[in-house]
Amino acid sequence: MIFWRQALEIARVDLMVERRAGETLRIVLPFSVVALMVFPLALDLHLGLVSAVGVGVFWALGILFGMQVALRQSASDTPERRDLHVLAGVEPAARFTGRTLSGGILMTAYLGLMLLVMAILFDPDVPAGGWGVLVVSTILVAVGLTELGTLAGEVTTGLRNRTALASLIVAPLALPLVIGASQSVEALERETGILPWILLLIAGDLALAVAGVALARPLEEAR
């Protein structure tokens, strides 16, 4: 019970801070939308091509900018605050869980809004049932990306080039999430079954959750 009390308290305060700081929805999201608009302009895509690439562009930008959500300033603690958490008896796994909870909610909201904007701007070619698959895979990618970002943020905490280094760590490790998510929609088109891809995403999320909880204590000691 103490574990969940601490995790939920950390998540609650994280979301409160984010609501006031507005980094995700007031800065990262608009920046992402601009990037969404830059793509077709930079590539001089015809309308038909825009529809064809819409979902792919969503995943690409969602992952790249989603990293900024996972690594947002409001999710990082000063050394003094971490010391107080340790002295208060906050379990490292509870910290990781709380951060992942709040980050997951923010990431889902962010990716969900990006998906909506992409749908409006790109009018993508999505097969029957594809939107349902997109929503499910968006949620699963949001969870996995948050877990990766939380881990990478902890591993790079206190370093001068933290944001760039953490992004370098997250980006390649996040690609399997992109592959799983994009293949789930492709599988609908090919009529080859989406279940393996959804299960792959779920397995990836679970593996990262286990890794995060198992490595939470060494991560705390790694300052």
């Binding site: 881990l151 790079t156 001068r160 390649p172 690609l175 790694a222």
Partner: protein
């Protein structure tokens, strides 16, 4: 040092033998002379997987034992793994250009995930370079090393999961699809590259040991600060 010299000599002989096998195997009916790259490309990739596996092992053992040697093993193996991955990617691209007509296939998930593995371990090395404190460096890179190994089975099994131009595994439980001479060349090179990996790892570990011993005895931090010369303040 003697041990390293012996291993390096063995590795040099083994690589030369492997090269001989690769160069003397008959050209493939379809791939022509470029089939000889199969003597380098698959062994390089197998050893990249091995190297990153050793990094993961070293990382996990450091987290358990907290001894420097495990950290040195993990780090040395990652550096060698990055080199083997680069060799594997390069030779794969040369082969692909000749046989597929393109050096890179964006739709080939195994190519992509191999490149991903390459960047993951570049990030591992970048992380190590960014941290000065040896204990913090060892711990954080151990954590990343333990997580990053997930990439290795993903690369290997992706060829079975996705539609791809890339060949499926050449050696399967039900036998091989390769001609005998080329298979022999590949296996000989696999052994040669393994010896080379062990030799490089031993050499790199020796260098790490020398670097650690050469570090000066930890000076007292506070001794670097001297009392100010107050009487000379106005003369500045």
């Amino acid at each position: 040092m003697t041990r390293v010299r012996v291993l390096m000599s063995l590795a040099a002989v083994a690589v030369l033998i492997g090269l001989w096998f690769a160069l003397t195997a008959p050209p493939d009916a379809l791939q022509g002379e470029y089939a000889r790259l199969l003597g380098i490309h698959p062994p390089s990739m197998w050893l990249a997987f091995l190297a990153f596996g050793v990094t993961a092992l070293g990382s996990i053992m450091w987290l358990i034992k907290k001894t420097d040697r495990w950290d040195q093993l993990a780090s040395a193996s990652a550096e060698i793994g990055v080199i083997f991955t680069a060799i594997g990617l390069f030779t794969g691209m040369v082969w692909g250009q000749a046989v597929w007509g393109t050096p890179w296939d964006w739709q080939d998930p195994r190519l992509m995930s191999t490149a991903v593995m390459f960047f993951v371990y570049l990030a591992y090395i970048a992380l190590r370079n960014a941290i000065e404190d040896p204990t913090v460096r060892a711990r954080r890179s151990a954590i990343l090393g333990a997580i990053a190994v997930v990439q290795v089975p993903l690369v290997y099994f992706s060829v079975n999961l996705f539609r791809t131009l890339h060949q499926t595994q050449s050696i399967r439980p039900d036998g091989s699809t390769m001609p005998d001479e080329m298979l022999t060349a590949m296996l000989v090179n696999l052994v040669a590259f393994t010896i080379l990996f062990v030799a490089l790892l031993a050499a790199r570990l020796d260098v790490a040991k020398v670097e650690a011993e050469a570090r000066p005895a930890a000076p007292l931090a506070g001794d670097a600060v001297r009392p100010p010369r107050l009487s000379e303040v106005e003369d500045v």
